[in-house]
């Protein structure tokens, strides 16, 4: 049974932090659950705590401790066995009941045939035409399937993933929208917002997960930008730059 290493706020629990720190100690971060690694990459607080804990245990001698047993092995296994046994008993009882009970009468099939001629009450004496079968509602045109809406359009770009950070700047620059990894519907407005950006012209660039630039705009004297176009579903990255520096790299999903 996989342990939940996250608390109700979505941050790592103390045991989650400890697990990451031990993985650093063993140089085995690649063996960790991917959700944990992704969270650490995006959460400065949990990452900082994990590095602090690693610094505390890095030189400690664990050689005398032996192998780590499976988490709460005895207790959990007993609990799981009991639950599984109970589930099997319930299933068997239900099956026995189904097999021993007489089969319920099948529902009568009522077939209503449309009469060929019907005397209509609103016009007695006239032979009415058989009711026309209900006309199906006009087909609502389905949304055109996006050209690139396949799994490959959601594959993260390593190069860009490595650039995603919460930019720490002395001027207090901060991106307020979209939240990193936010999912936005195609029909929703795509709004980029930030505060405390350096003065001067900023450039906002949207890239696909293949790092192909799909949009570029200059923003002057504003702390937001609304993208009016429509993006096909998938993973996108966006960058905000000023004349001399890259201010922010983020990602979002279009569904």
């Amino acid at each position: 049974m996989a342990l939940n290493y996250f608390d109700q706020h979505g941050h790592l629990t103390d045991e989650g932090i400890a697990r990451y720190a031990e993985a650093l100690r063993q140089d085995a971060v690649d063996k960790l659950p991917s959700a944990m690694v992704q969270h650490i990459e995006q959460c400065e607080s949990c990452h900082g705590q994990a590095l602090d804990l690693y610094a505390l245990i890095a030189d400690a001698d664990y050689s005398a401790l032996g192998a780590l047993p499976a988490p709460q092995a005895t207790v959990r296994r007993l609990w799981i066995l009991r639950a599984a046994a109970a589930a099997v008993l319930v299933m068997l009882s239900w099956l026995a009941y189904r097999l021993s009970a007489p089969a319920p009468p099948s529902q009568p099939v009522v077939k209503v045939e449309t009469p060929v001629d019907t005397i209509r009450e609103d016009s007695p004496g006239r032979i009415a035409q058989p009711d026309k079968p209900a006309t199906p509602p006009p087909a609502v045109p389905r949304e055109t399937t996006p050209q690139y809406a396949d799994a490959s359009f959601y594959t993260p770009a390593d190069n860009m993933e490595g650039m995603i950070v919460s930019t720490m700047r002395s001027g207090g620059f901060e991106v307020t929208a979209p939240a990193n990894s936010d999912t936005i519907a195609r029909t929703e407005a795509l709004r980029f917002a930030w505060k405390n950006a350096p003065e001067g012209e900023l450039t906002l660039i949207i890239l696909t997960n293949k790092e192909k630039e799909v949009h570029r705009s200059s923003v002057t004297a504003a702390n937001y930008y609304s993208f009016e176009g429509k993006l096909t579903p998938g993973l996108y990255y966006w960058k905000l730059e000023d004349a001399s520096d890259l201010l922010h790299v983020g990602k979002f999903y279009i569904r």
Binding site: D27, G48, A73
Partner: protein, 262 residues
């Protein structure tokens, strides 16, 4: 491993549930070491150390050991989990006393580089180097590239062991260019020139066509991310790019490439 030692983790677990006083006595070294680290970073005065140790013992005995019993799931060593609990307790005490850590200044780092720092400073610097080591280990697949780029970021003079993981028939010419430029002091080269030379190596290895400026920005983002992590929130250090460069140089000088296990 000796047979008697094999059960130490099991013994510690048993003590947690049946003899918590024994566990607490057994783990005093963890409490002492953690409080010392916090004192070294300036959260507590040296004279307060014993008092803080006692306060943590009291907290553990009154409630925190019961909480460990309830919440510890056994997916990590008990002593790692216990270290985290003690770390949290130290932070809580420091915050309740409204203590600000002593920021590690670049002068202090330079001092340490000259081996002139005191014992507490040495402990603090060693912790910083461990945090840096943890950061690199956490990069996993991006570690080699990140380390090489940050070496160039601080103008660290390279040698062949720094490049051994990048050597292949395809990269011979790129490696030759690196040897030509970065195997002796290259402080005179601009960032643009430095990344213009190294970017060829990564483009060959990654089959990409990244330009030098993108690589430069990527490295700056990496450095800023590292600064954010080292400074913490709320801040426990005051690194800027220059202070980070000093710490990185110290790290790369102390880490022998042969000893790094990738």
């Amino acid at each position: 491993m000796q047979g008697a030692d094999k059960d130490l983790q099991a013994k510690e677990l048993e003590w947690l549930h049946k003899a918590p006083d024994r566990l607490l006595a057994h783990y005093q070294f963890i409490i002492e070491a953690t409080v010392t680290r916090f004192a070294a970073r300036g959260f507590f005065a040296f004279e307060e150390k014993e008092e803080v140790v006692q306060e943590i013992n009291l907290q553990l005995w009154e409630k925190k050991l019961d909480r460990i019993k309830a919440q510890y799931n056994g997916s990590v060593y008990l002593r790692t989990y216990f270290s985290k609990v003690v770390y949290n307790a130290c932070l809580e005490i420091a915050r309740s006393r409204r203590r600000q850590p002593r920021f590690l200044s670049d002068e202090l780092l330079q001092f340490t580089g000259d081996n002139a720092a005191g014992a507490f400073e040495q402990i603090a610097i060693r912790d910083e180097l461990h945090r840096l080591e943890g950061f690199f280990r956490g990069l996993a697949g991006k570690r080699l590239k990140s380390e090489l780029c940050l070496k160039l970021f601080v103008r660290f003079i390279l040698s062949m062991p720094d490049l051994r993981w990048f050597e292949s028939p395809k990269t011979q010419s790129a490696i030759a260019a690196i040897q030509q430029h970065f195997f002796e002091a290259y402080d005179h080269l601009s960032d643009k020139e430095v990344y213009g030379i190294i970017v060829d190596l990564f483009n060959i290895l990654e089959s990409r066509d990244t330009d030098a400026d993108s690589l430069r920005k990527w490295v700056q983002q990496l450095a800023d991310r590292l600064i954010g992590l080292l400074n913490g929130d709320p801040p426990v250090s005051a690194y800027d790019r220059e202070a980070l460069k000093i710490l990185l140089r110290l790290f790369f000088e102390q880490a022998s490439p042969e000893s790094v296990n990738y």
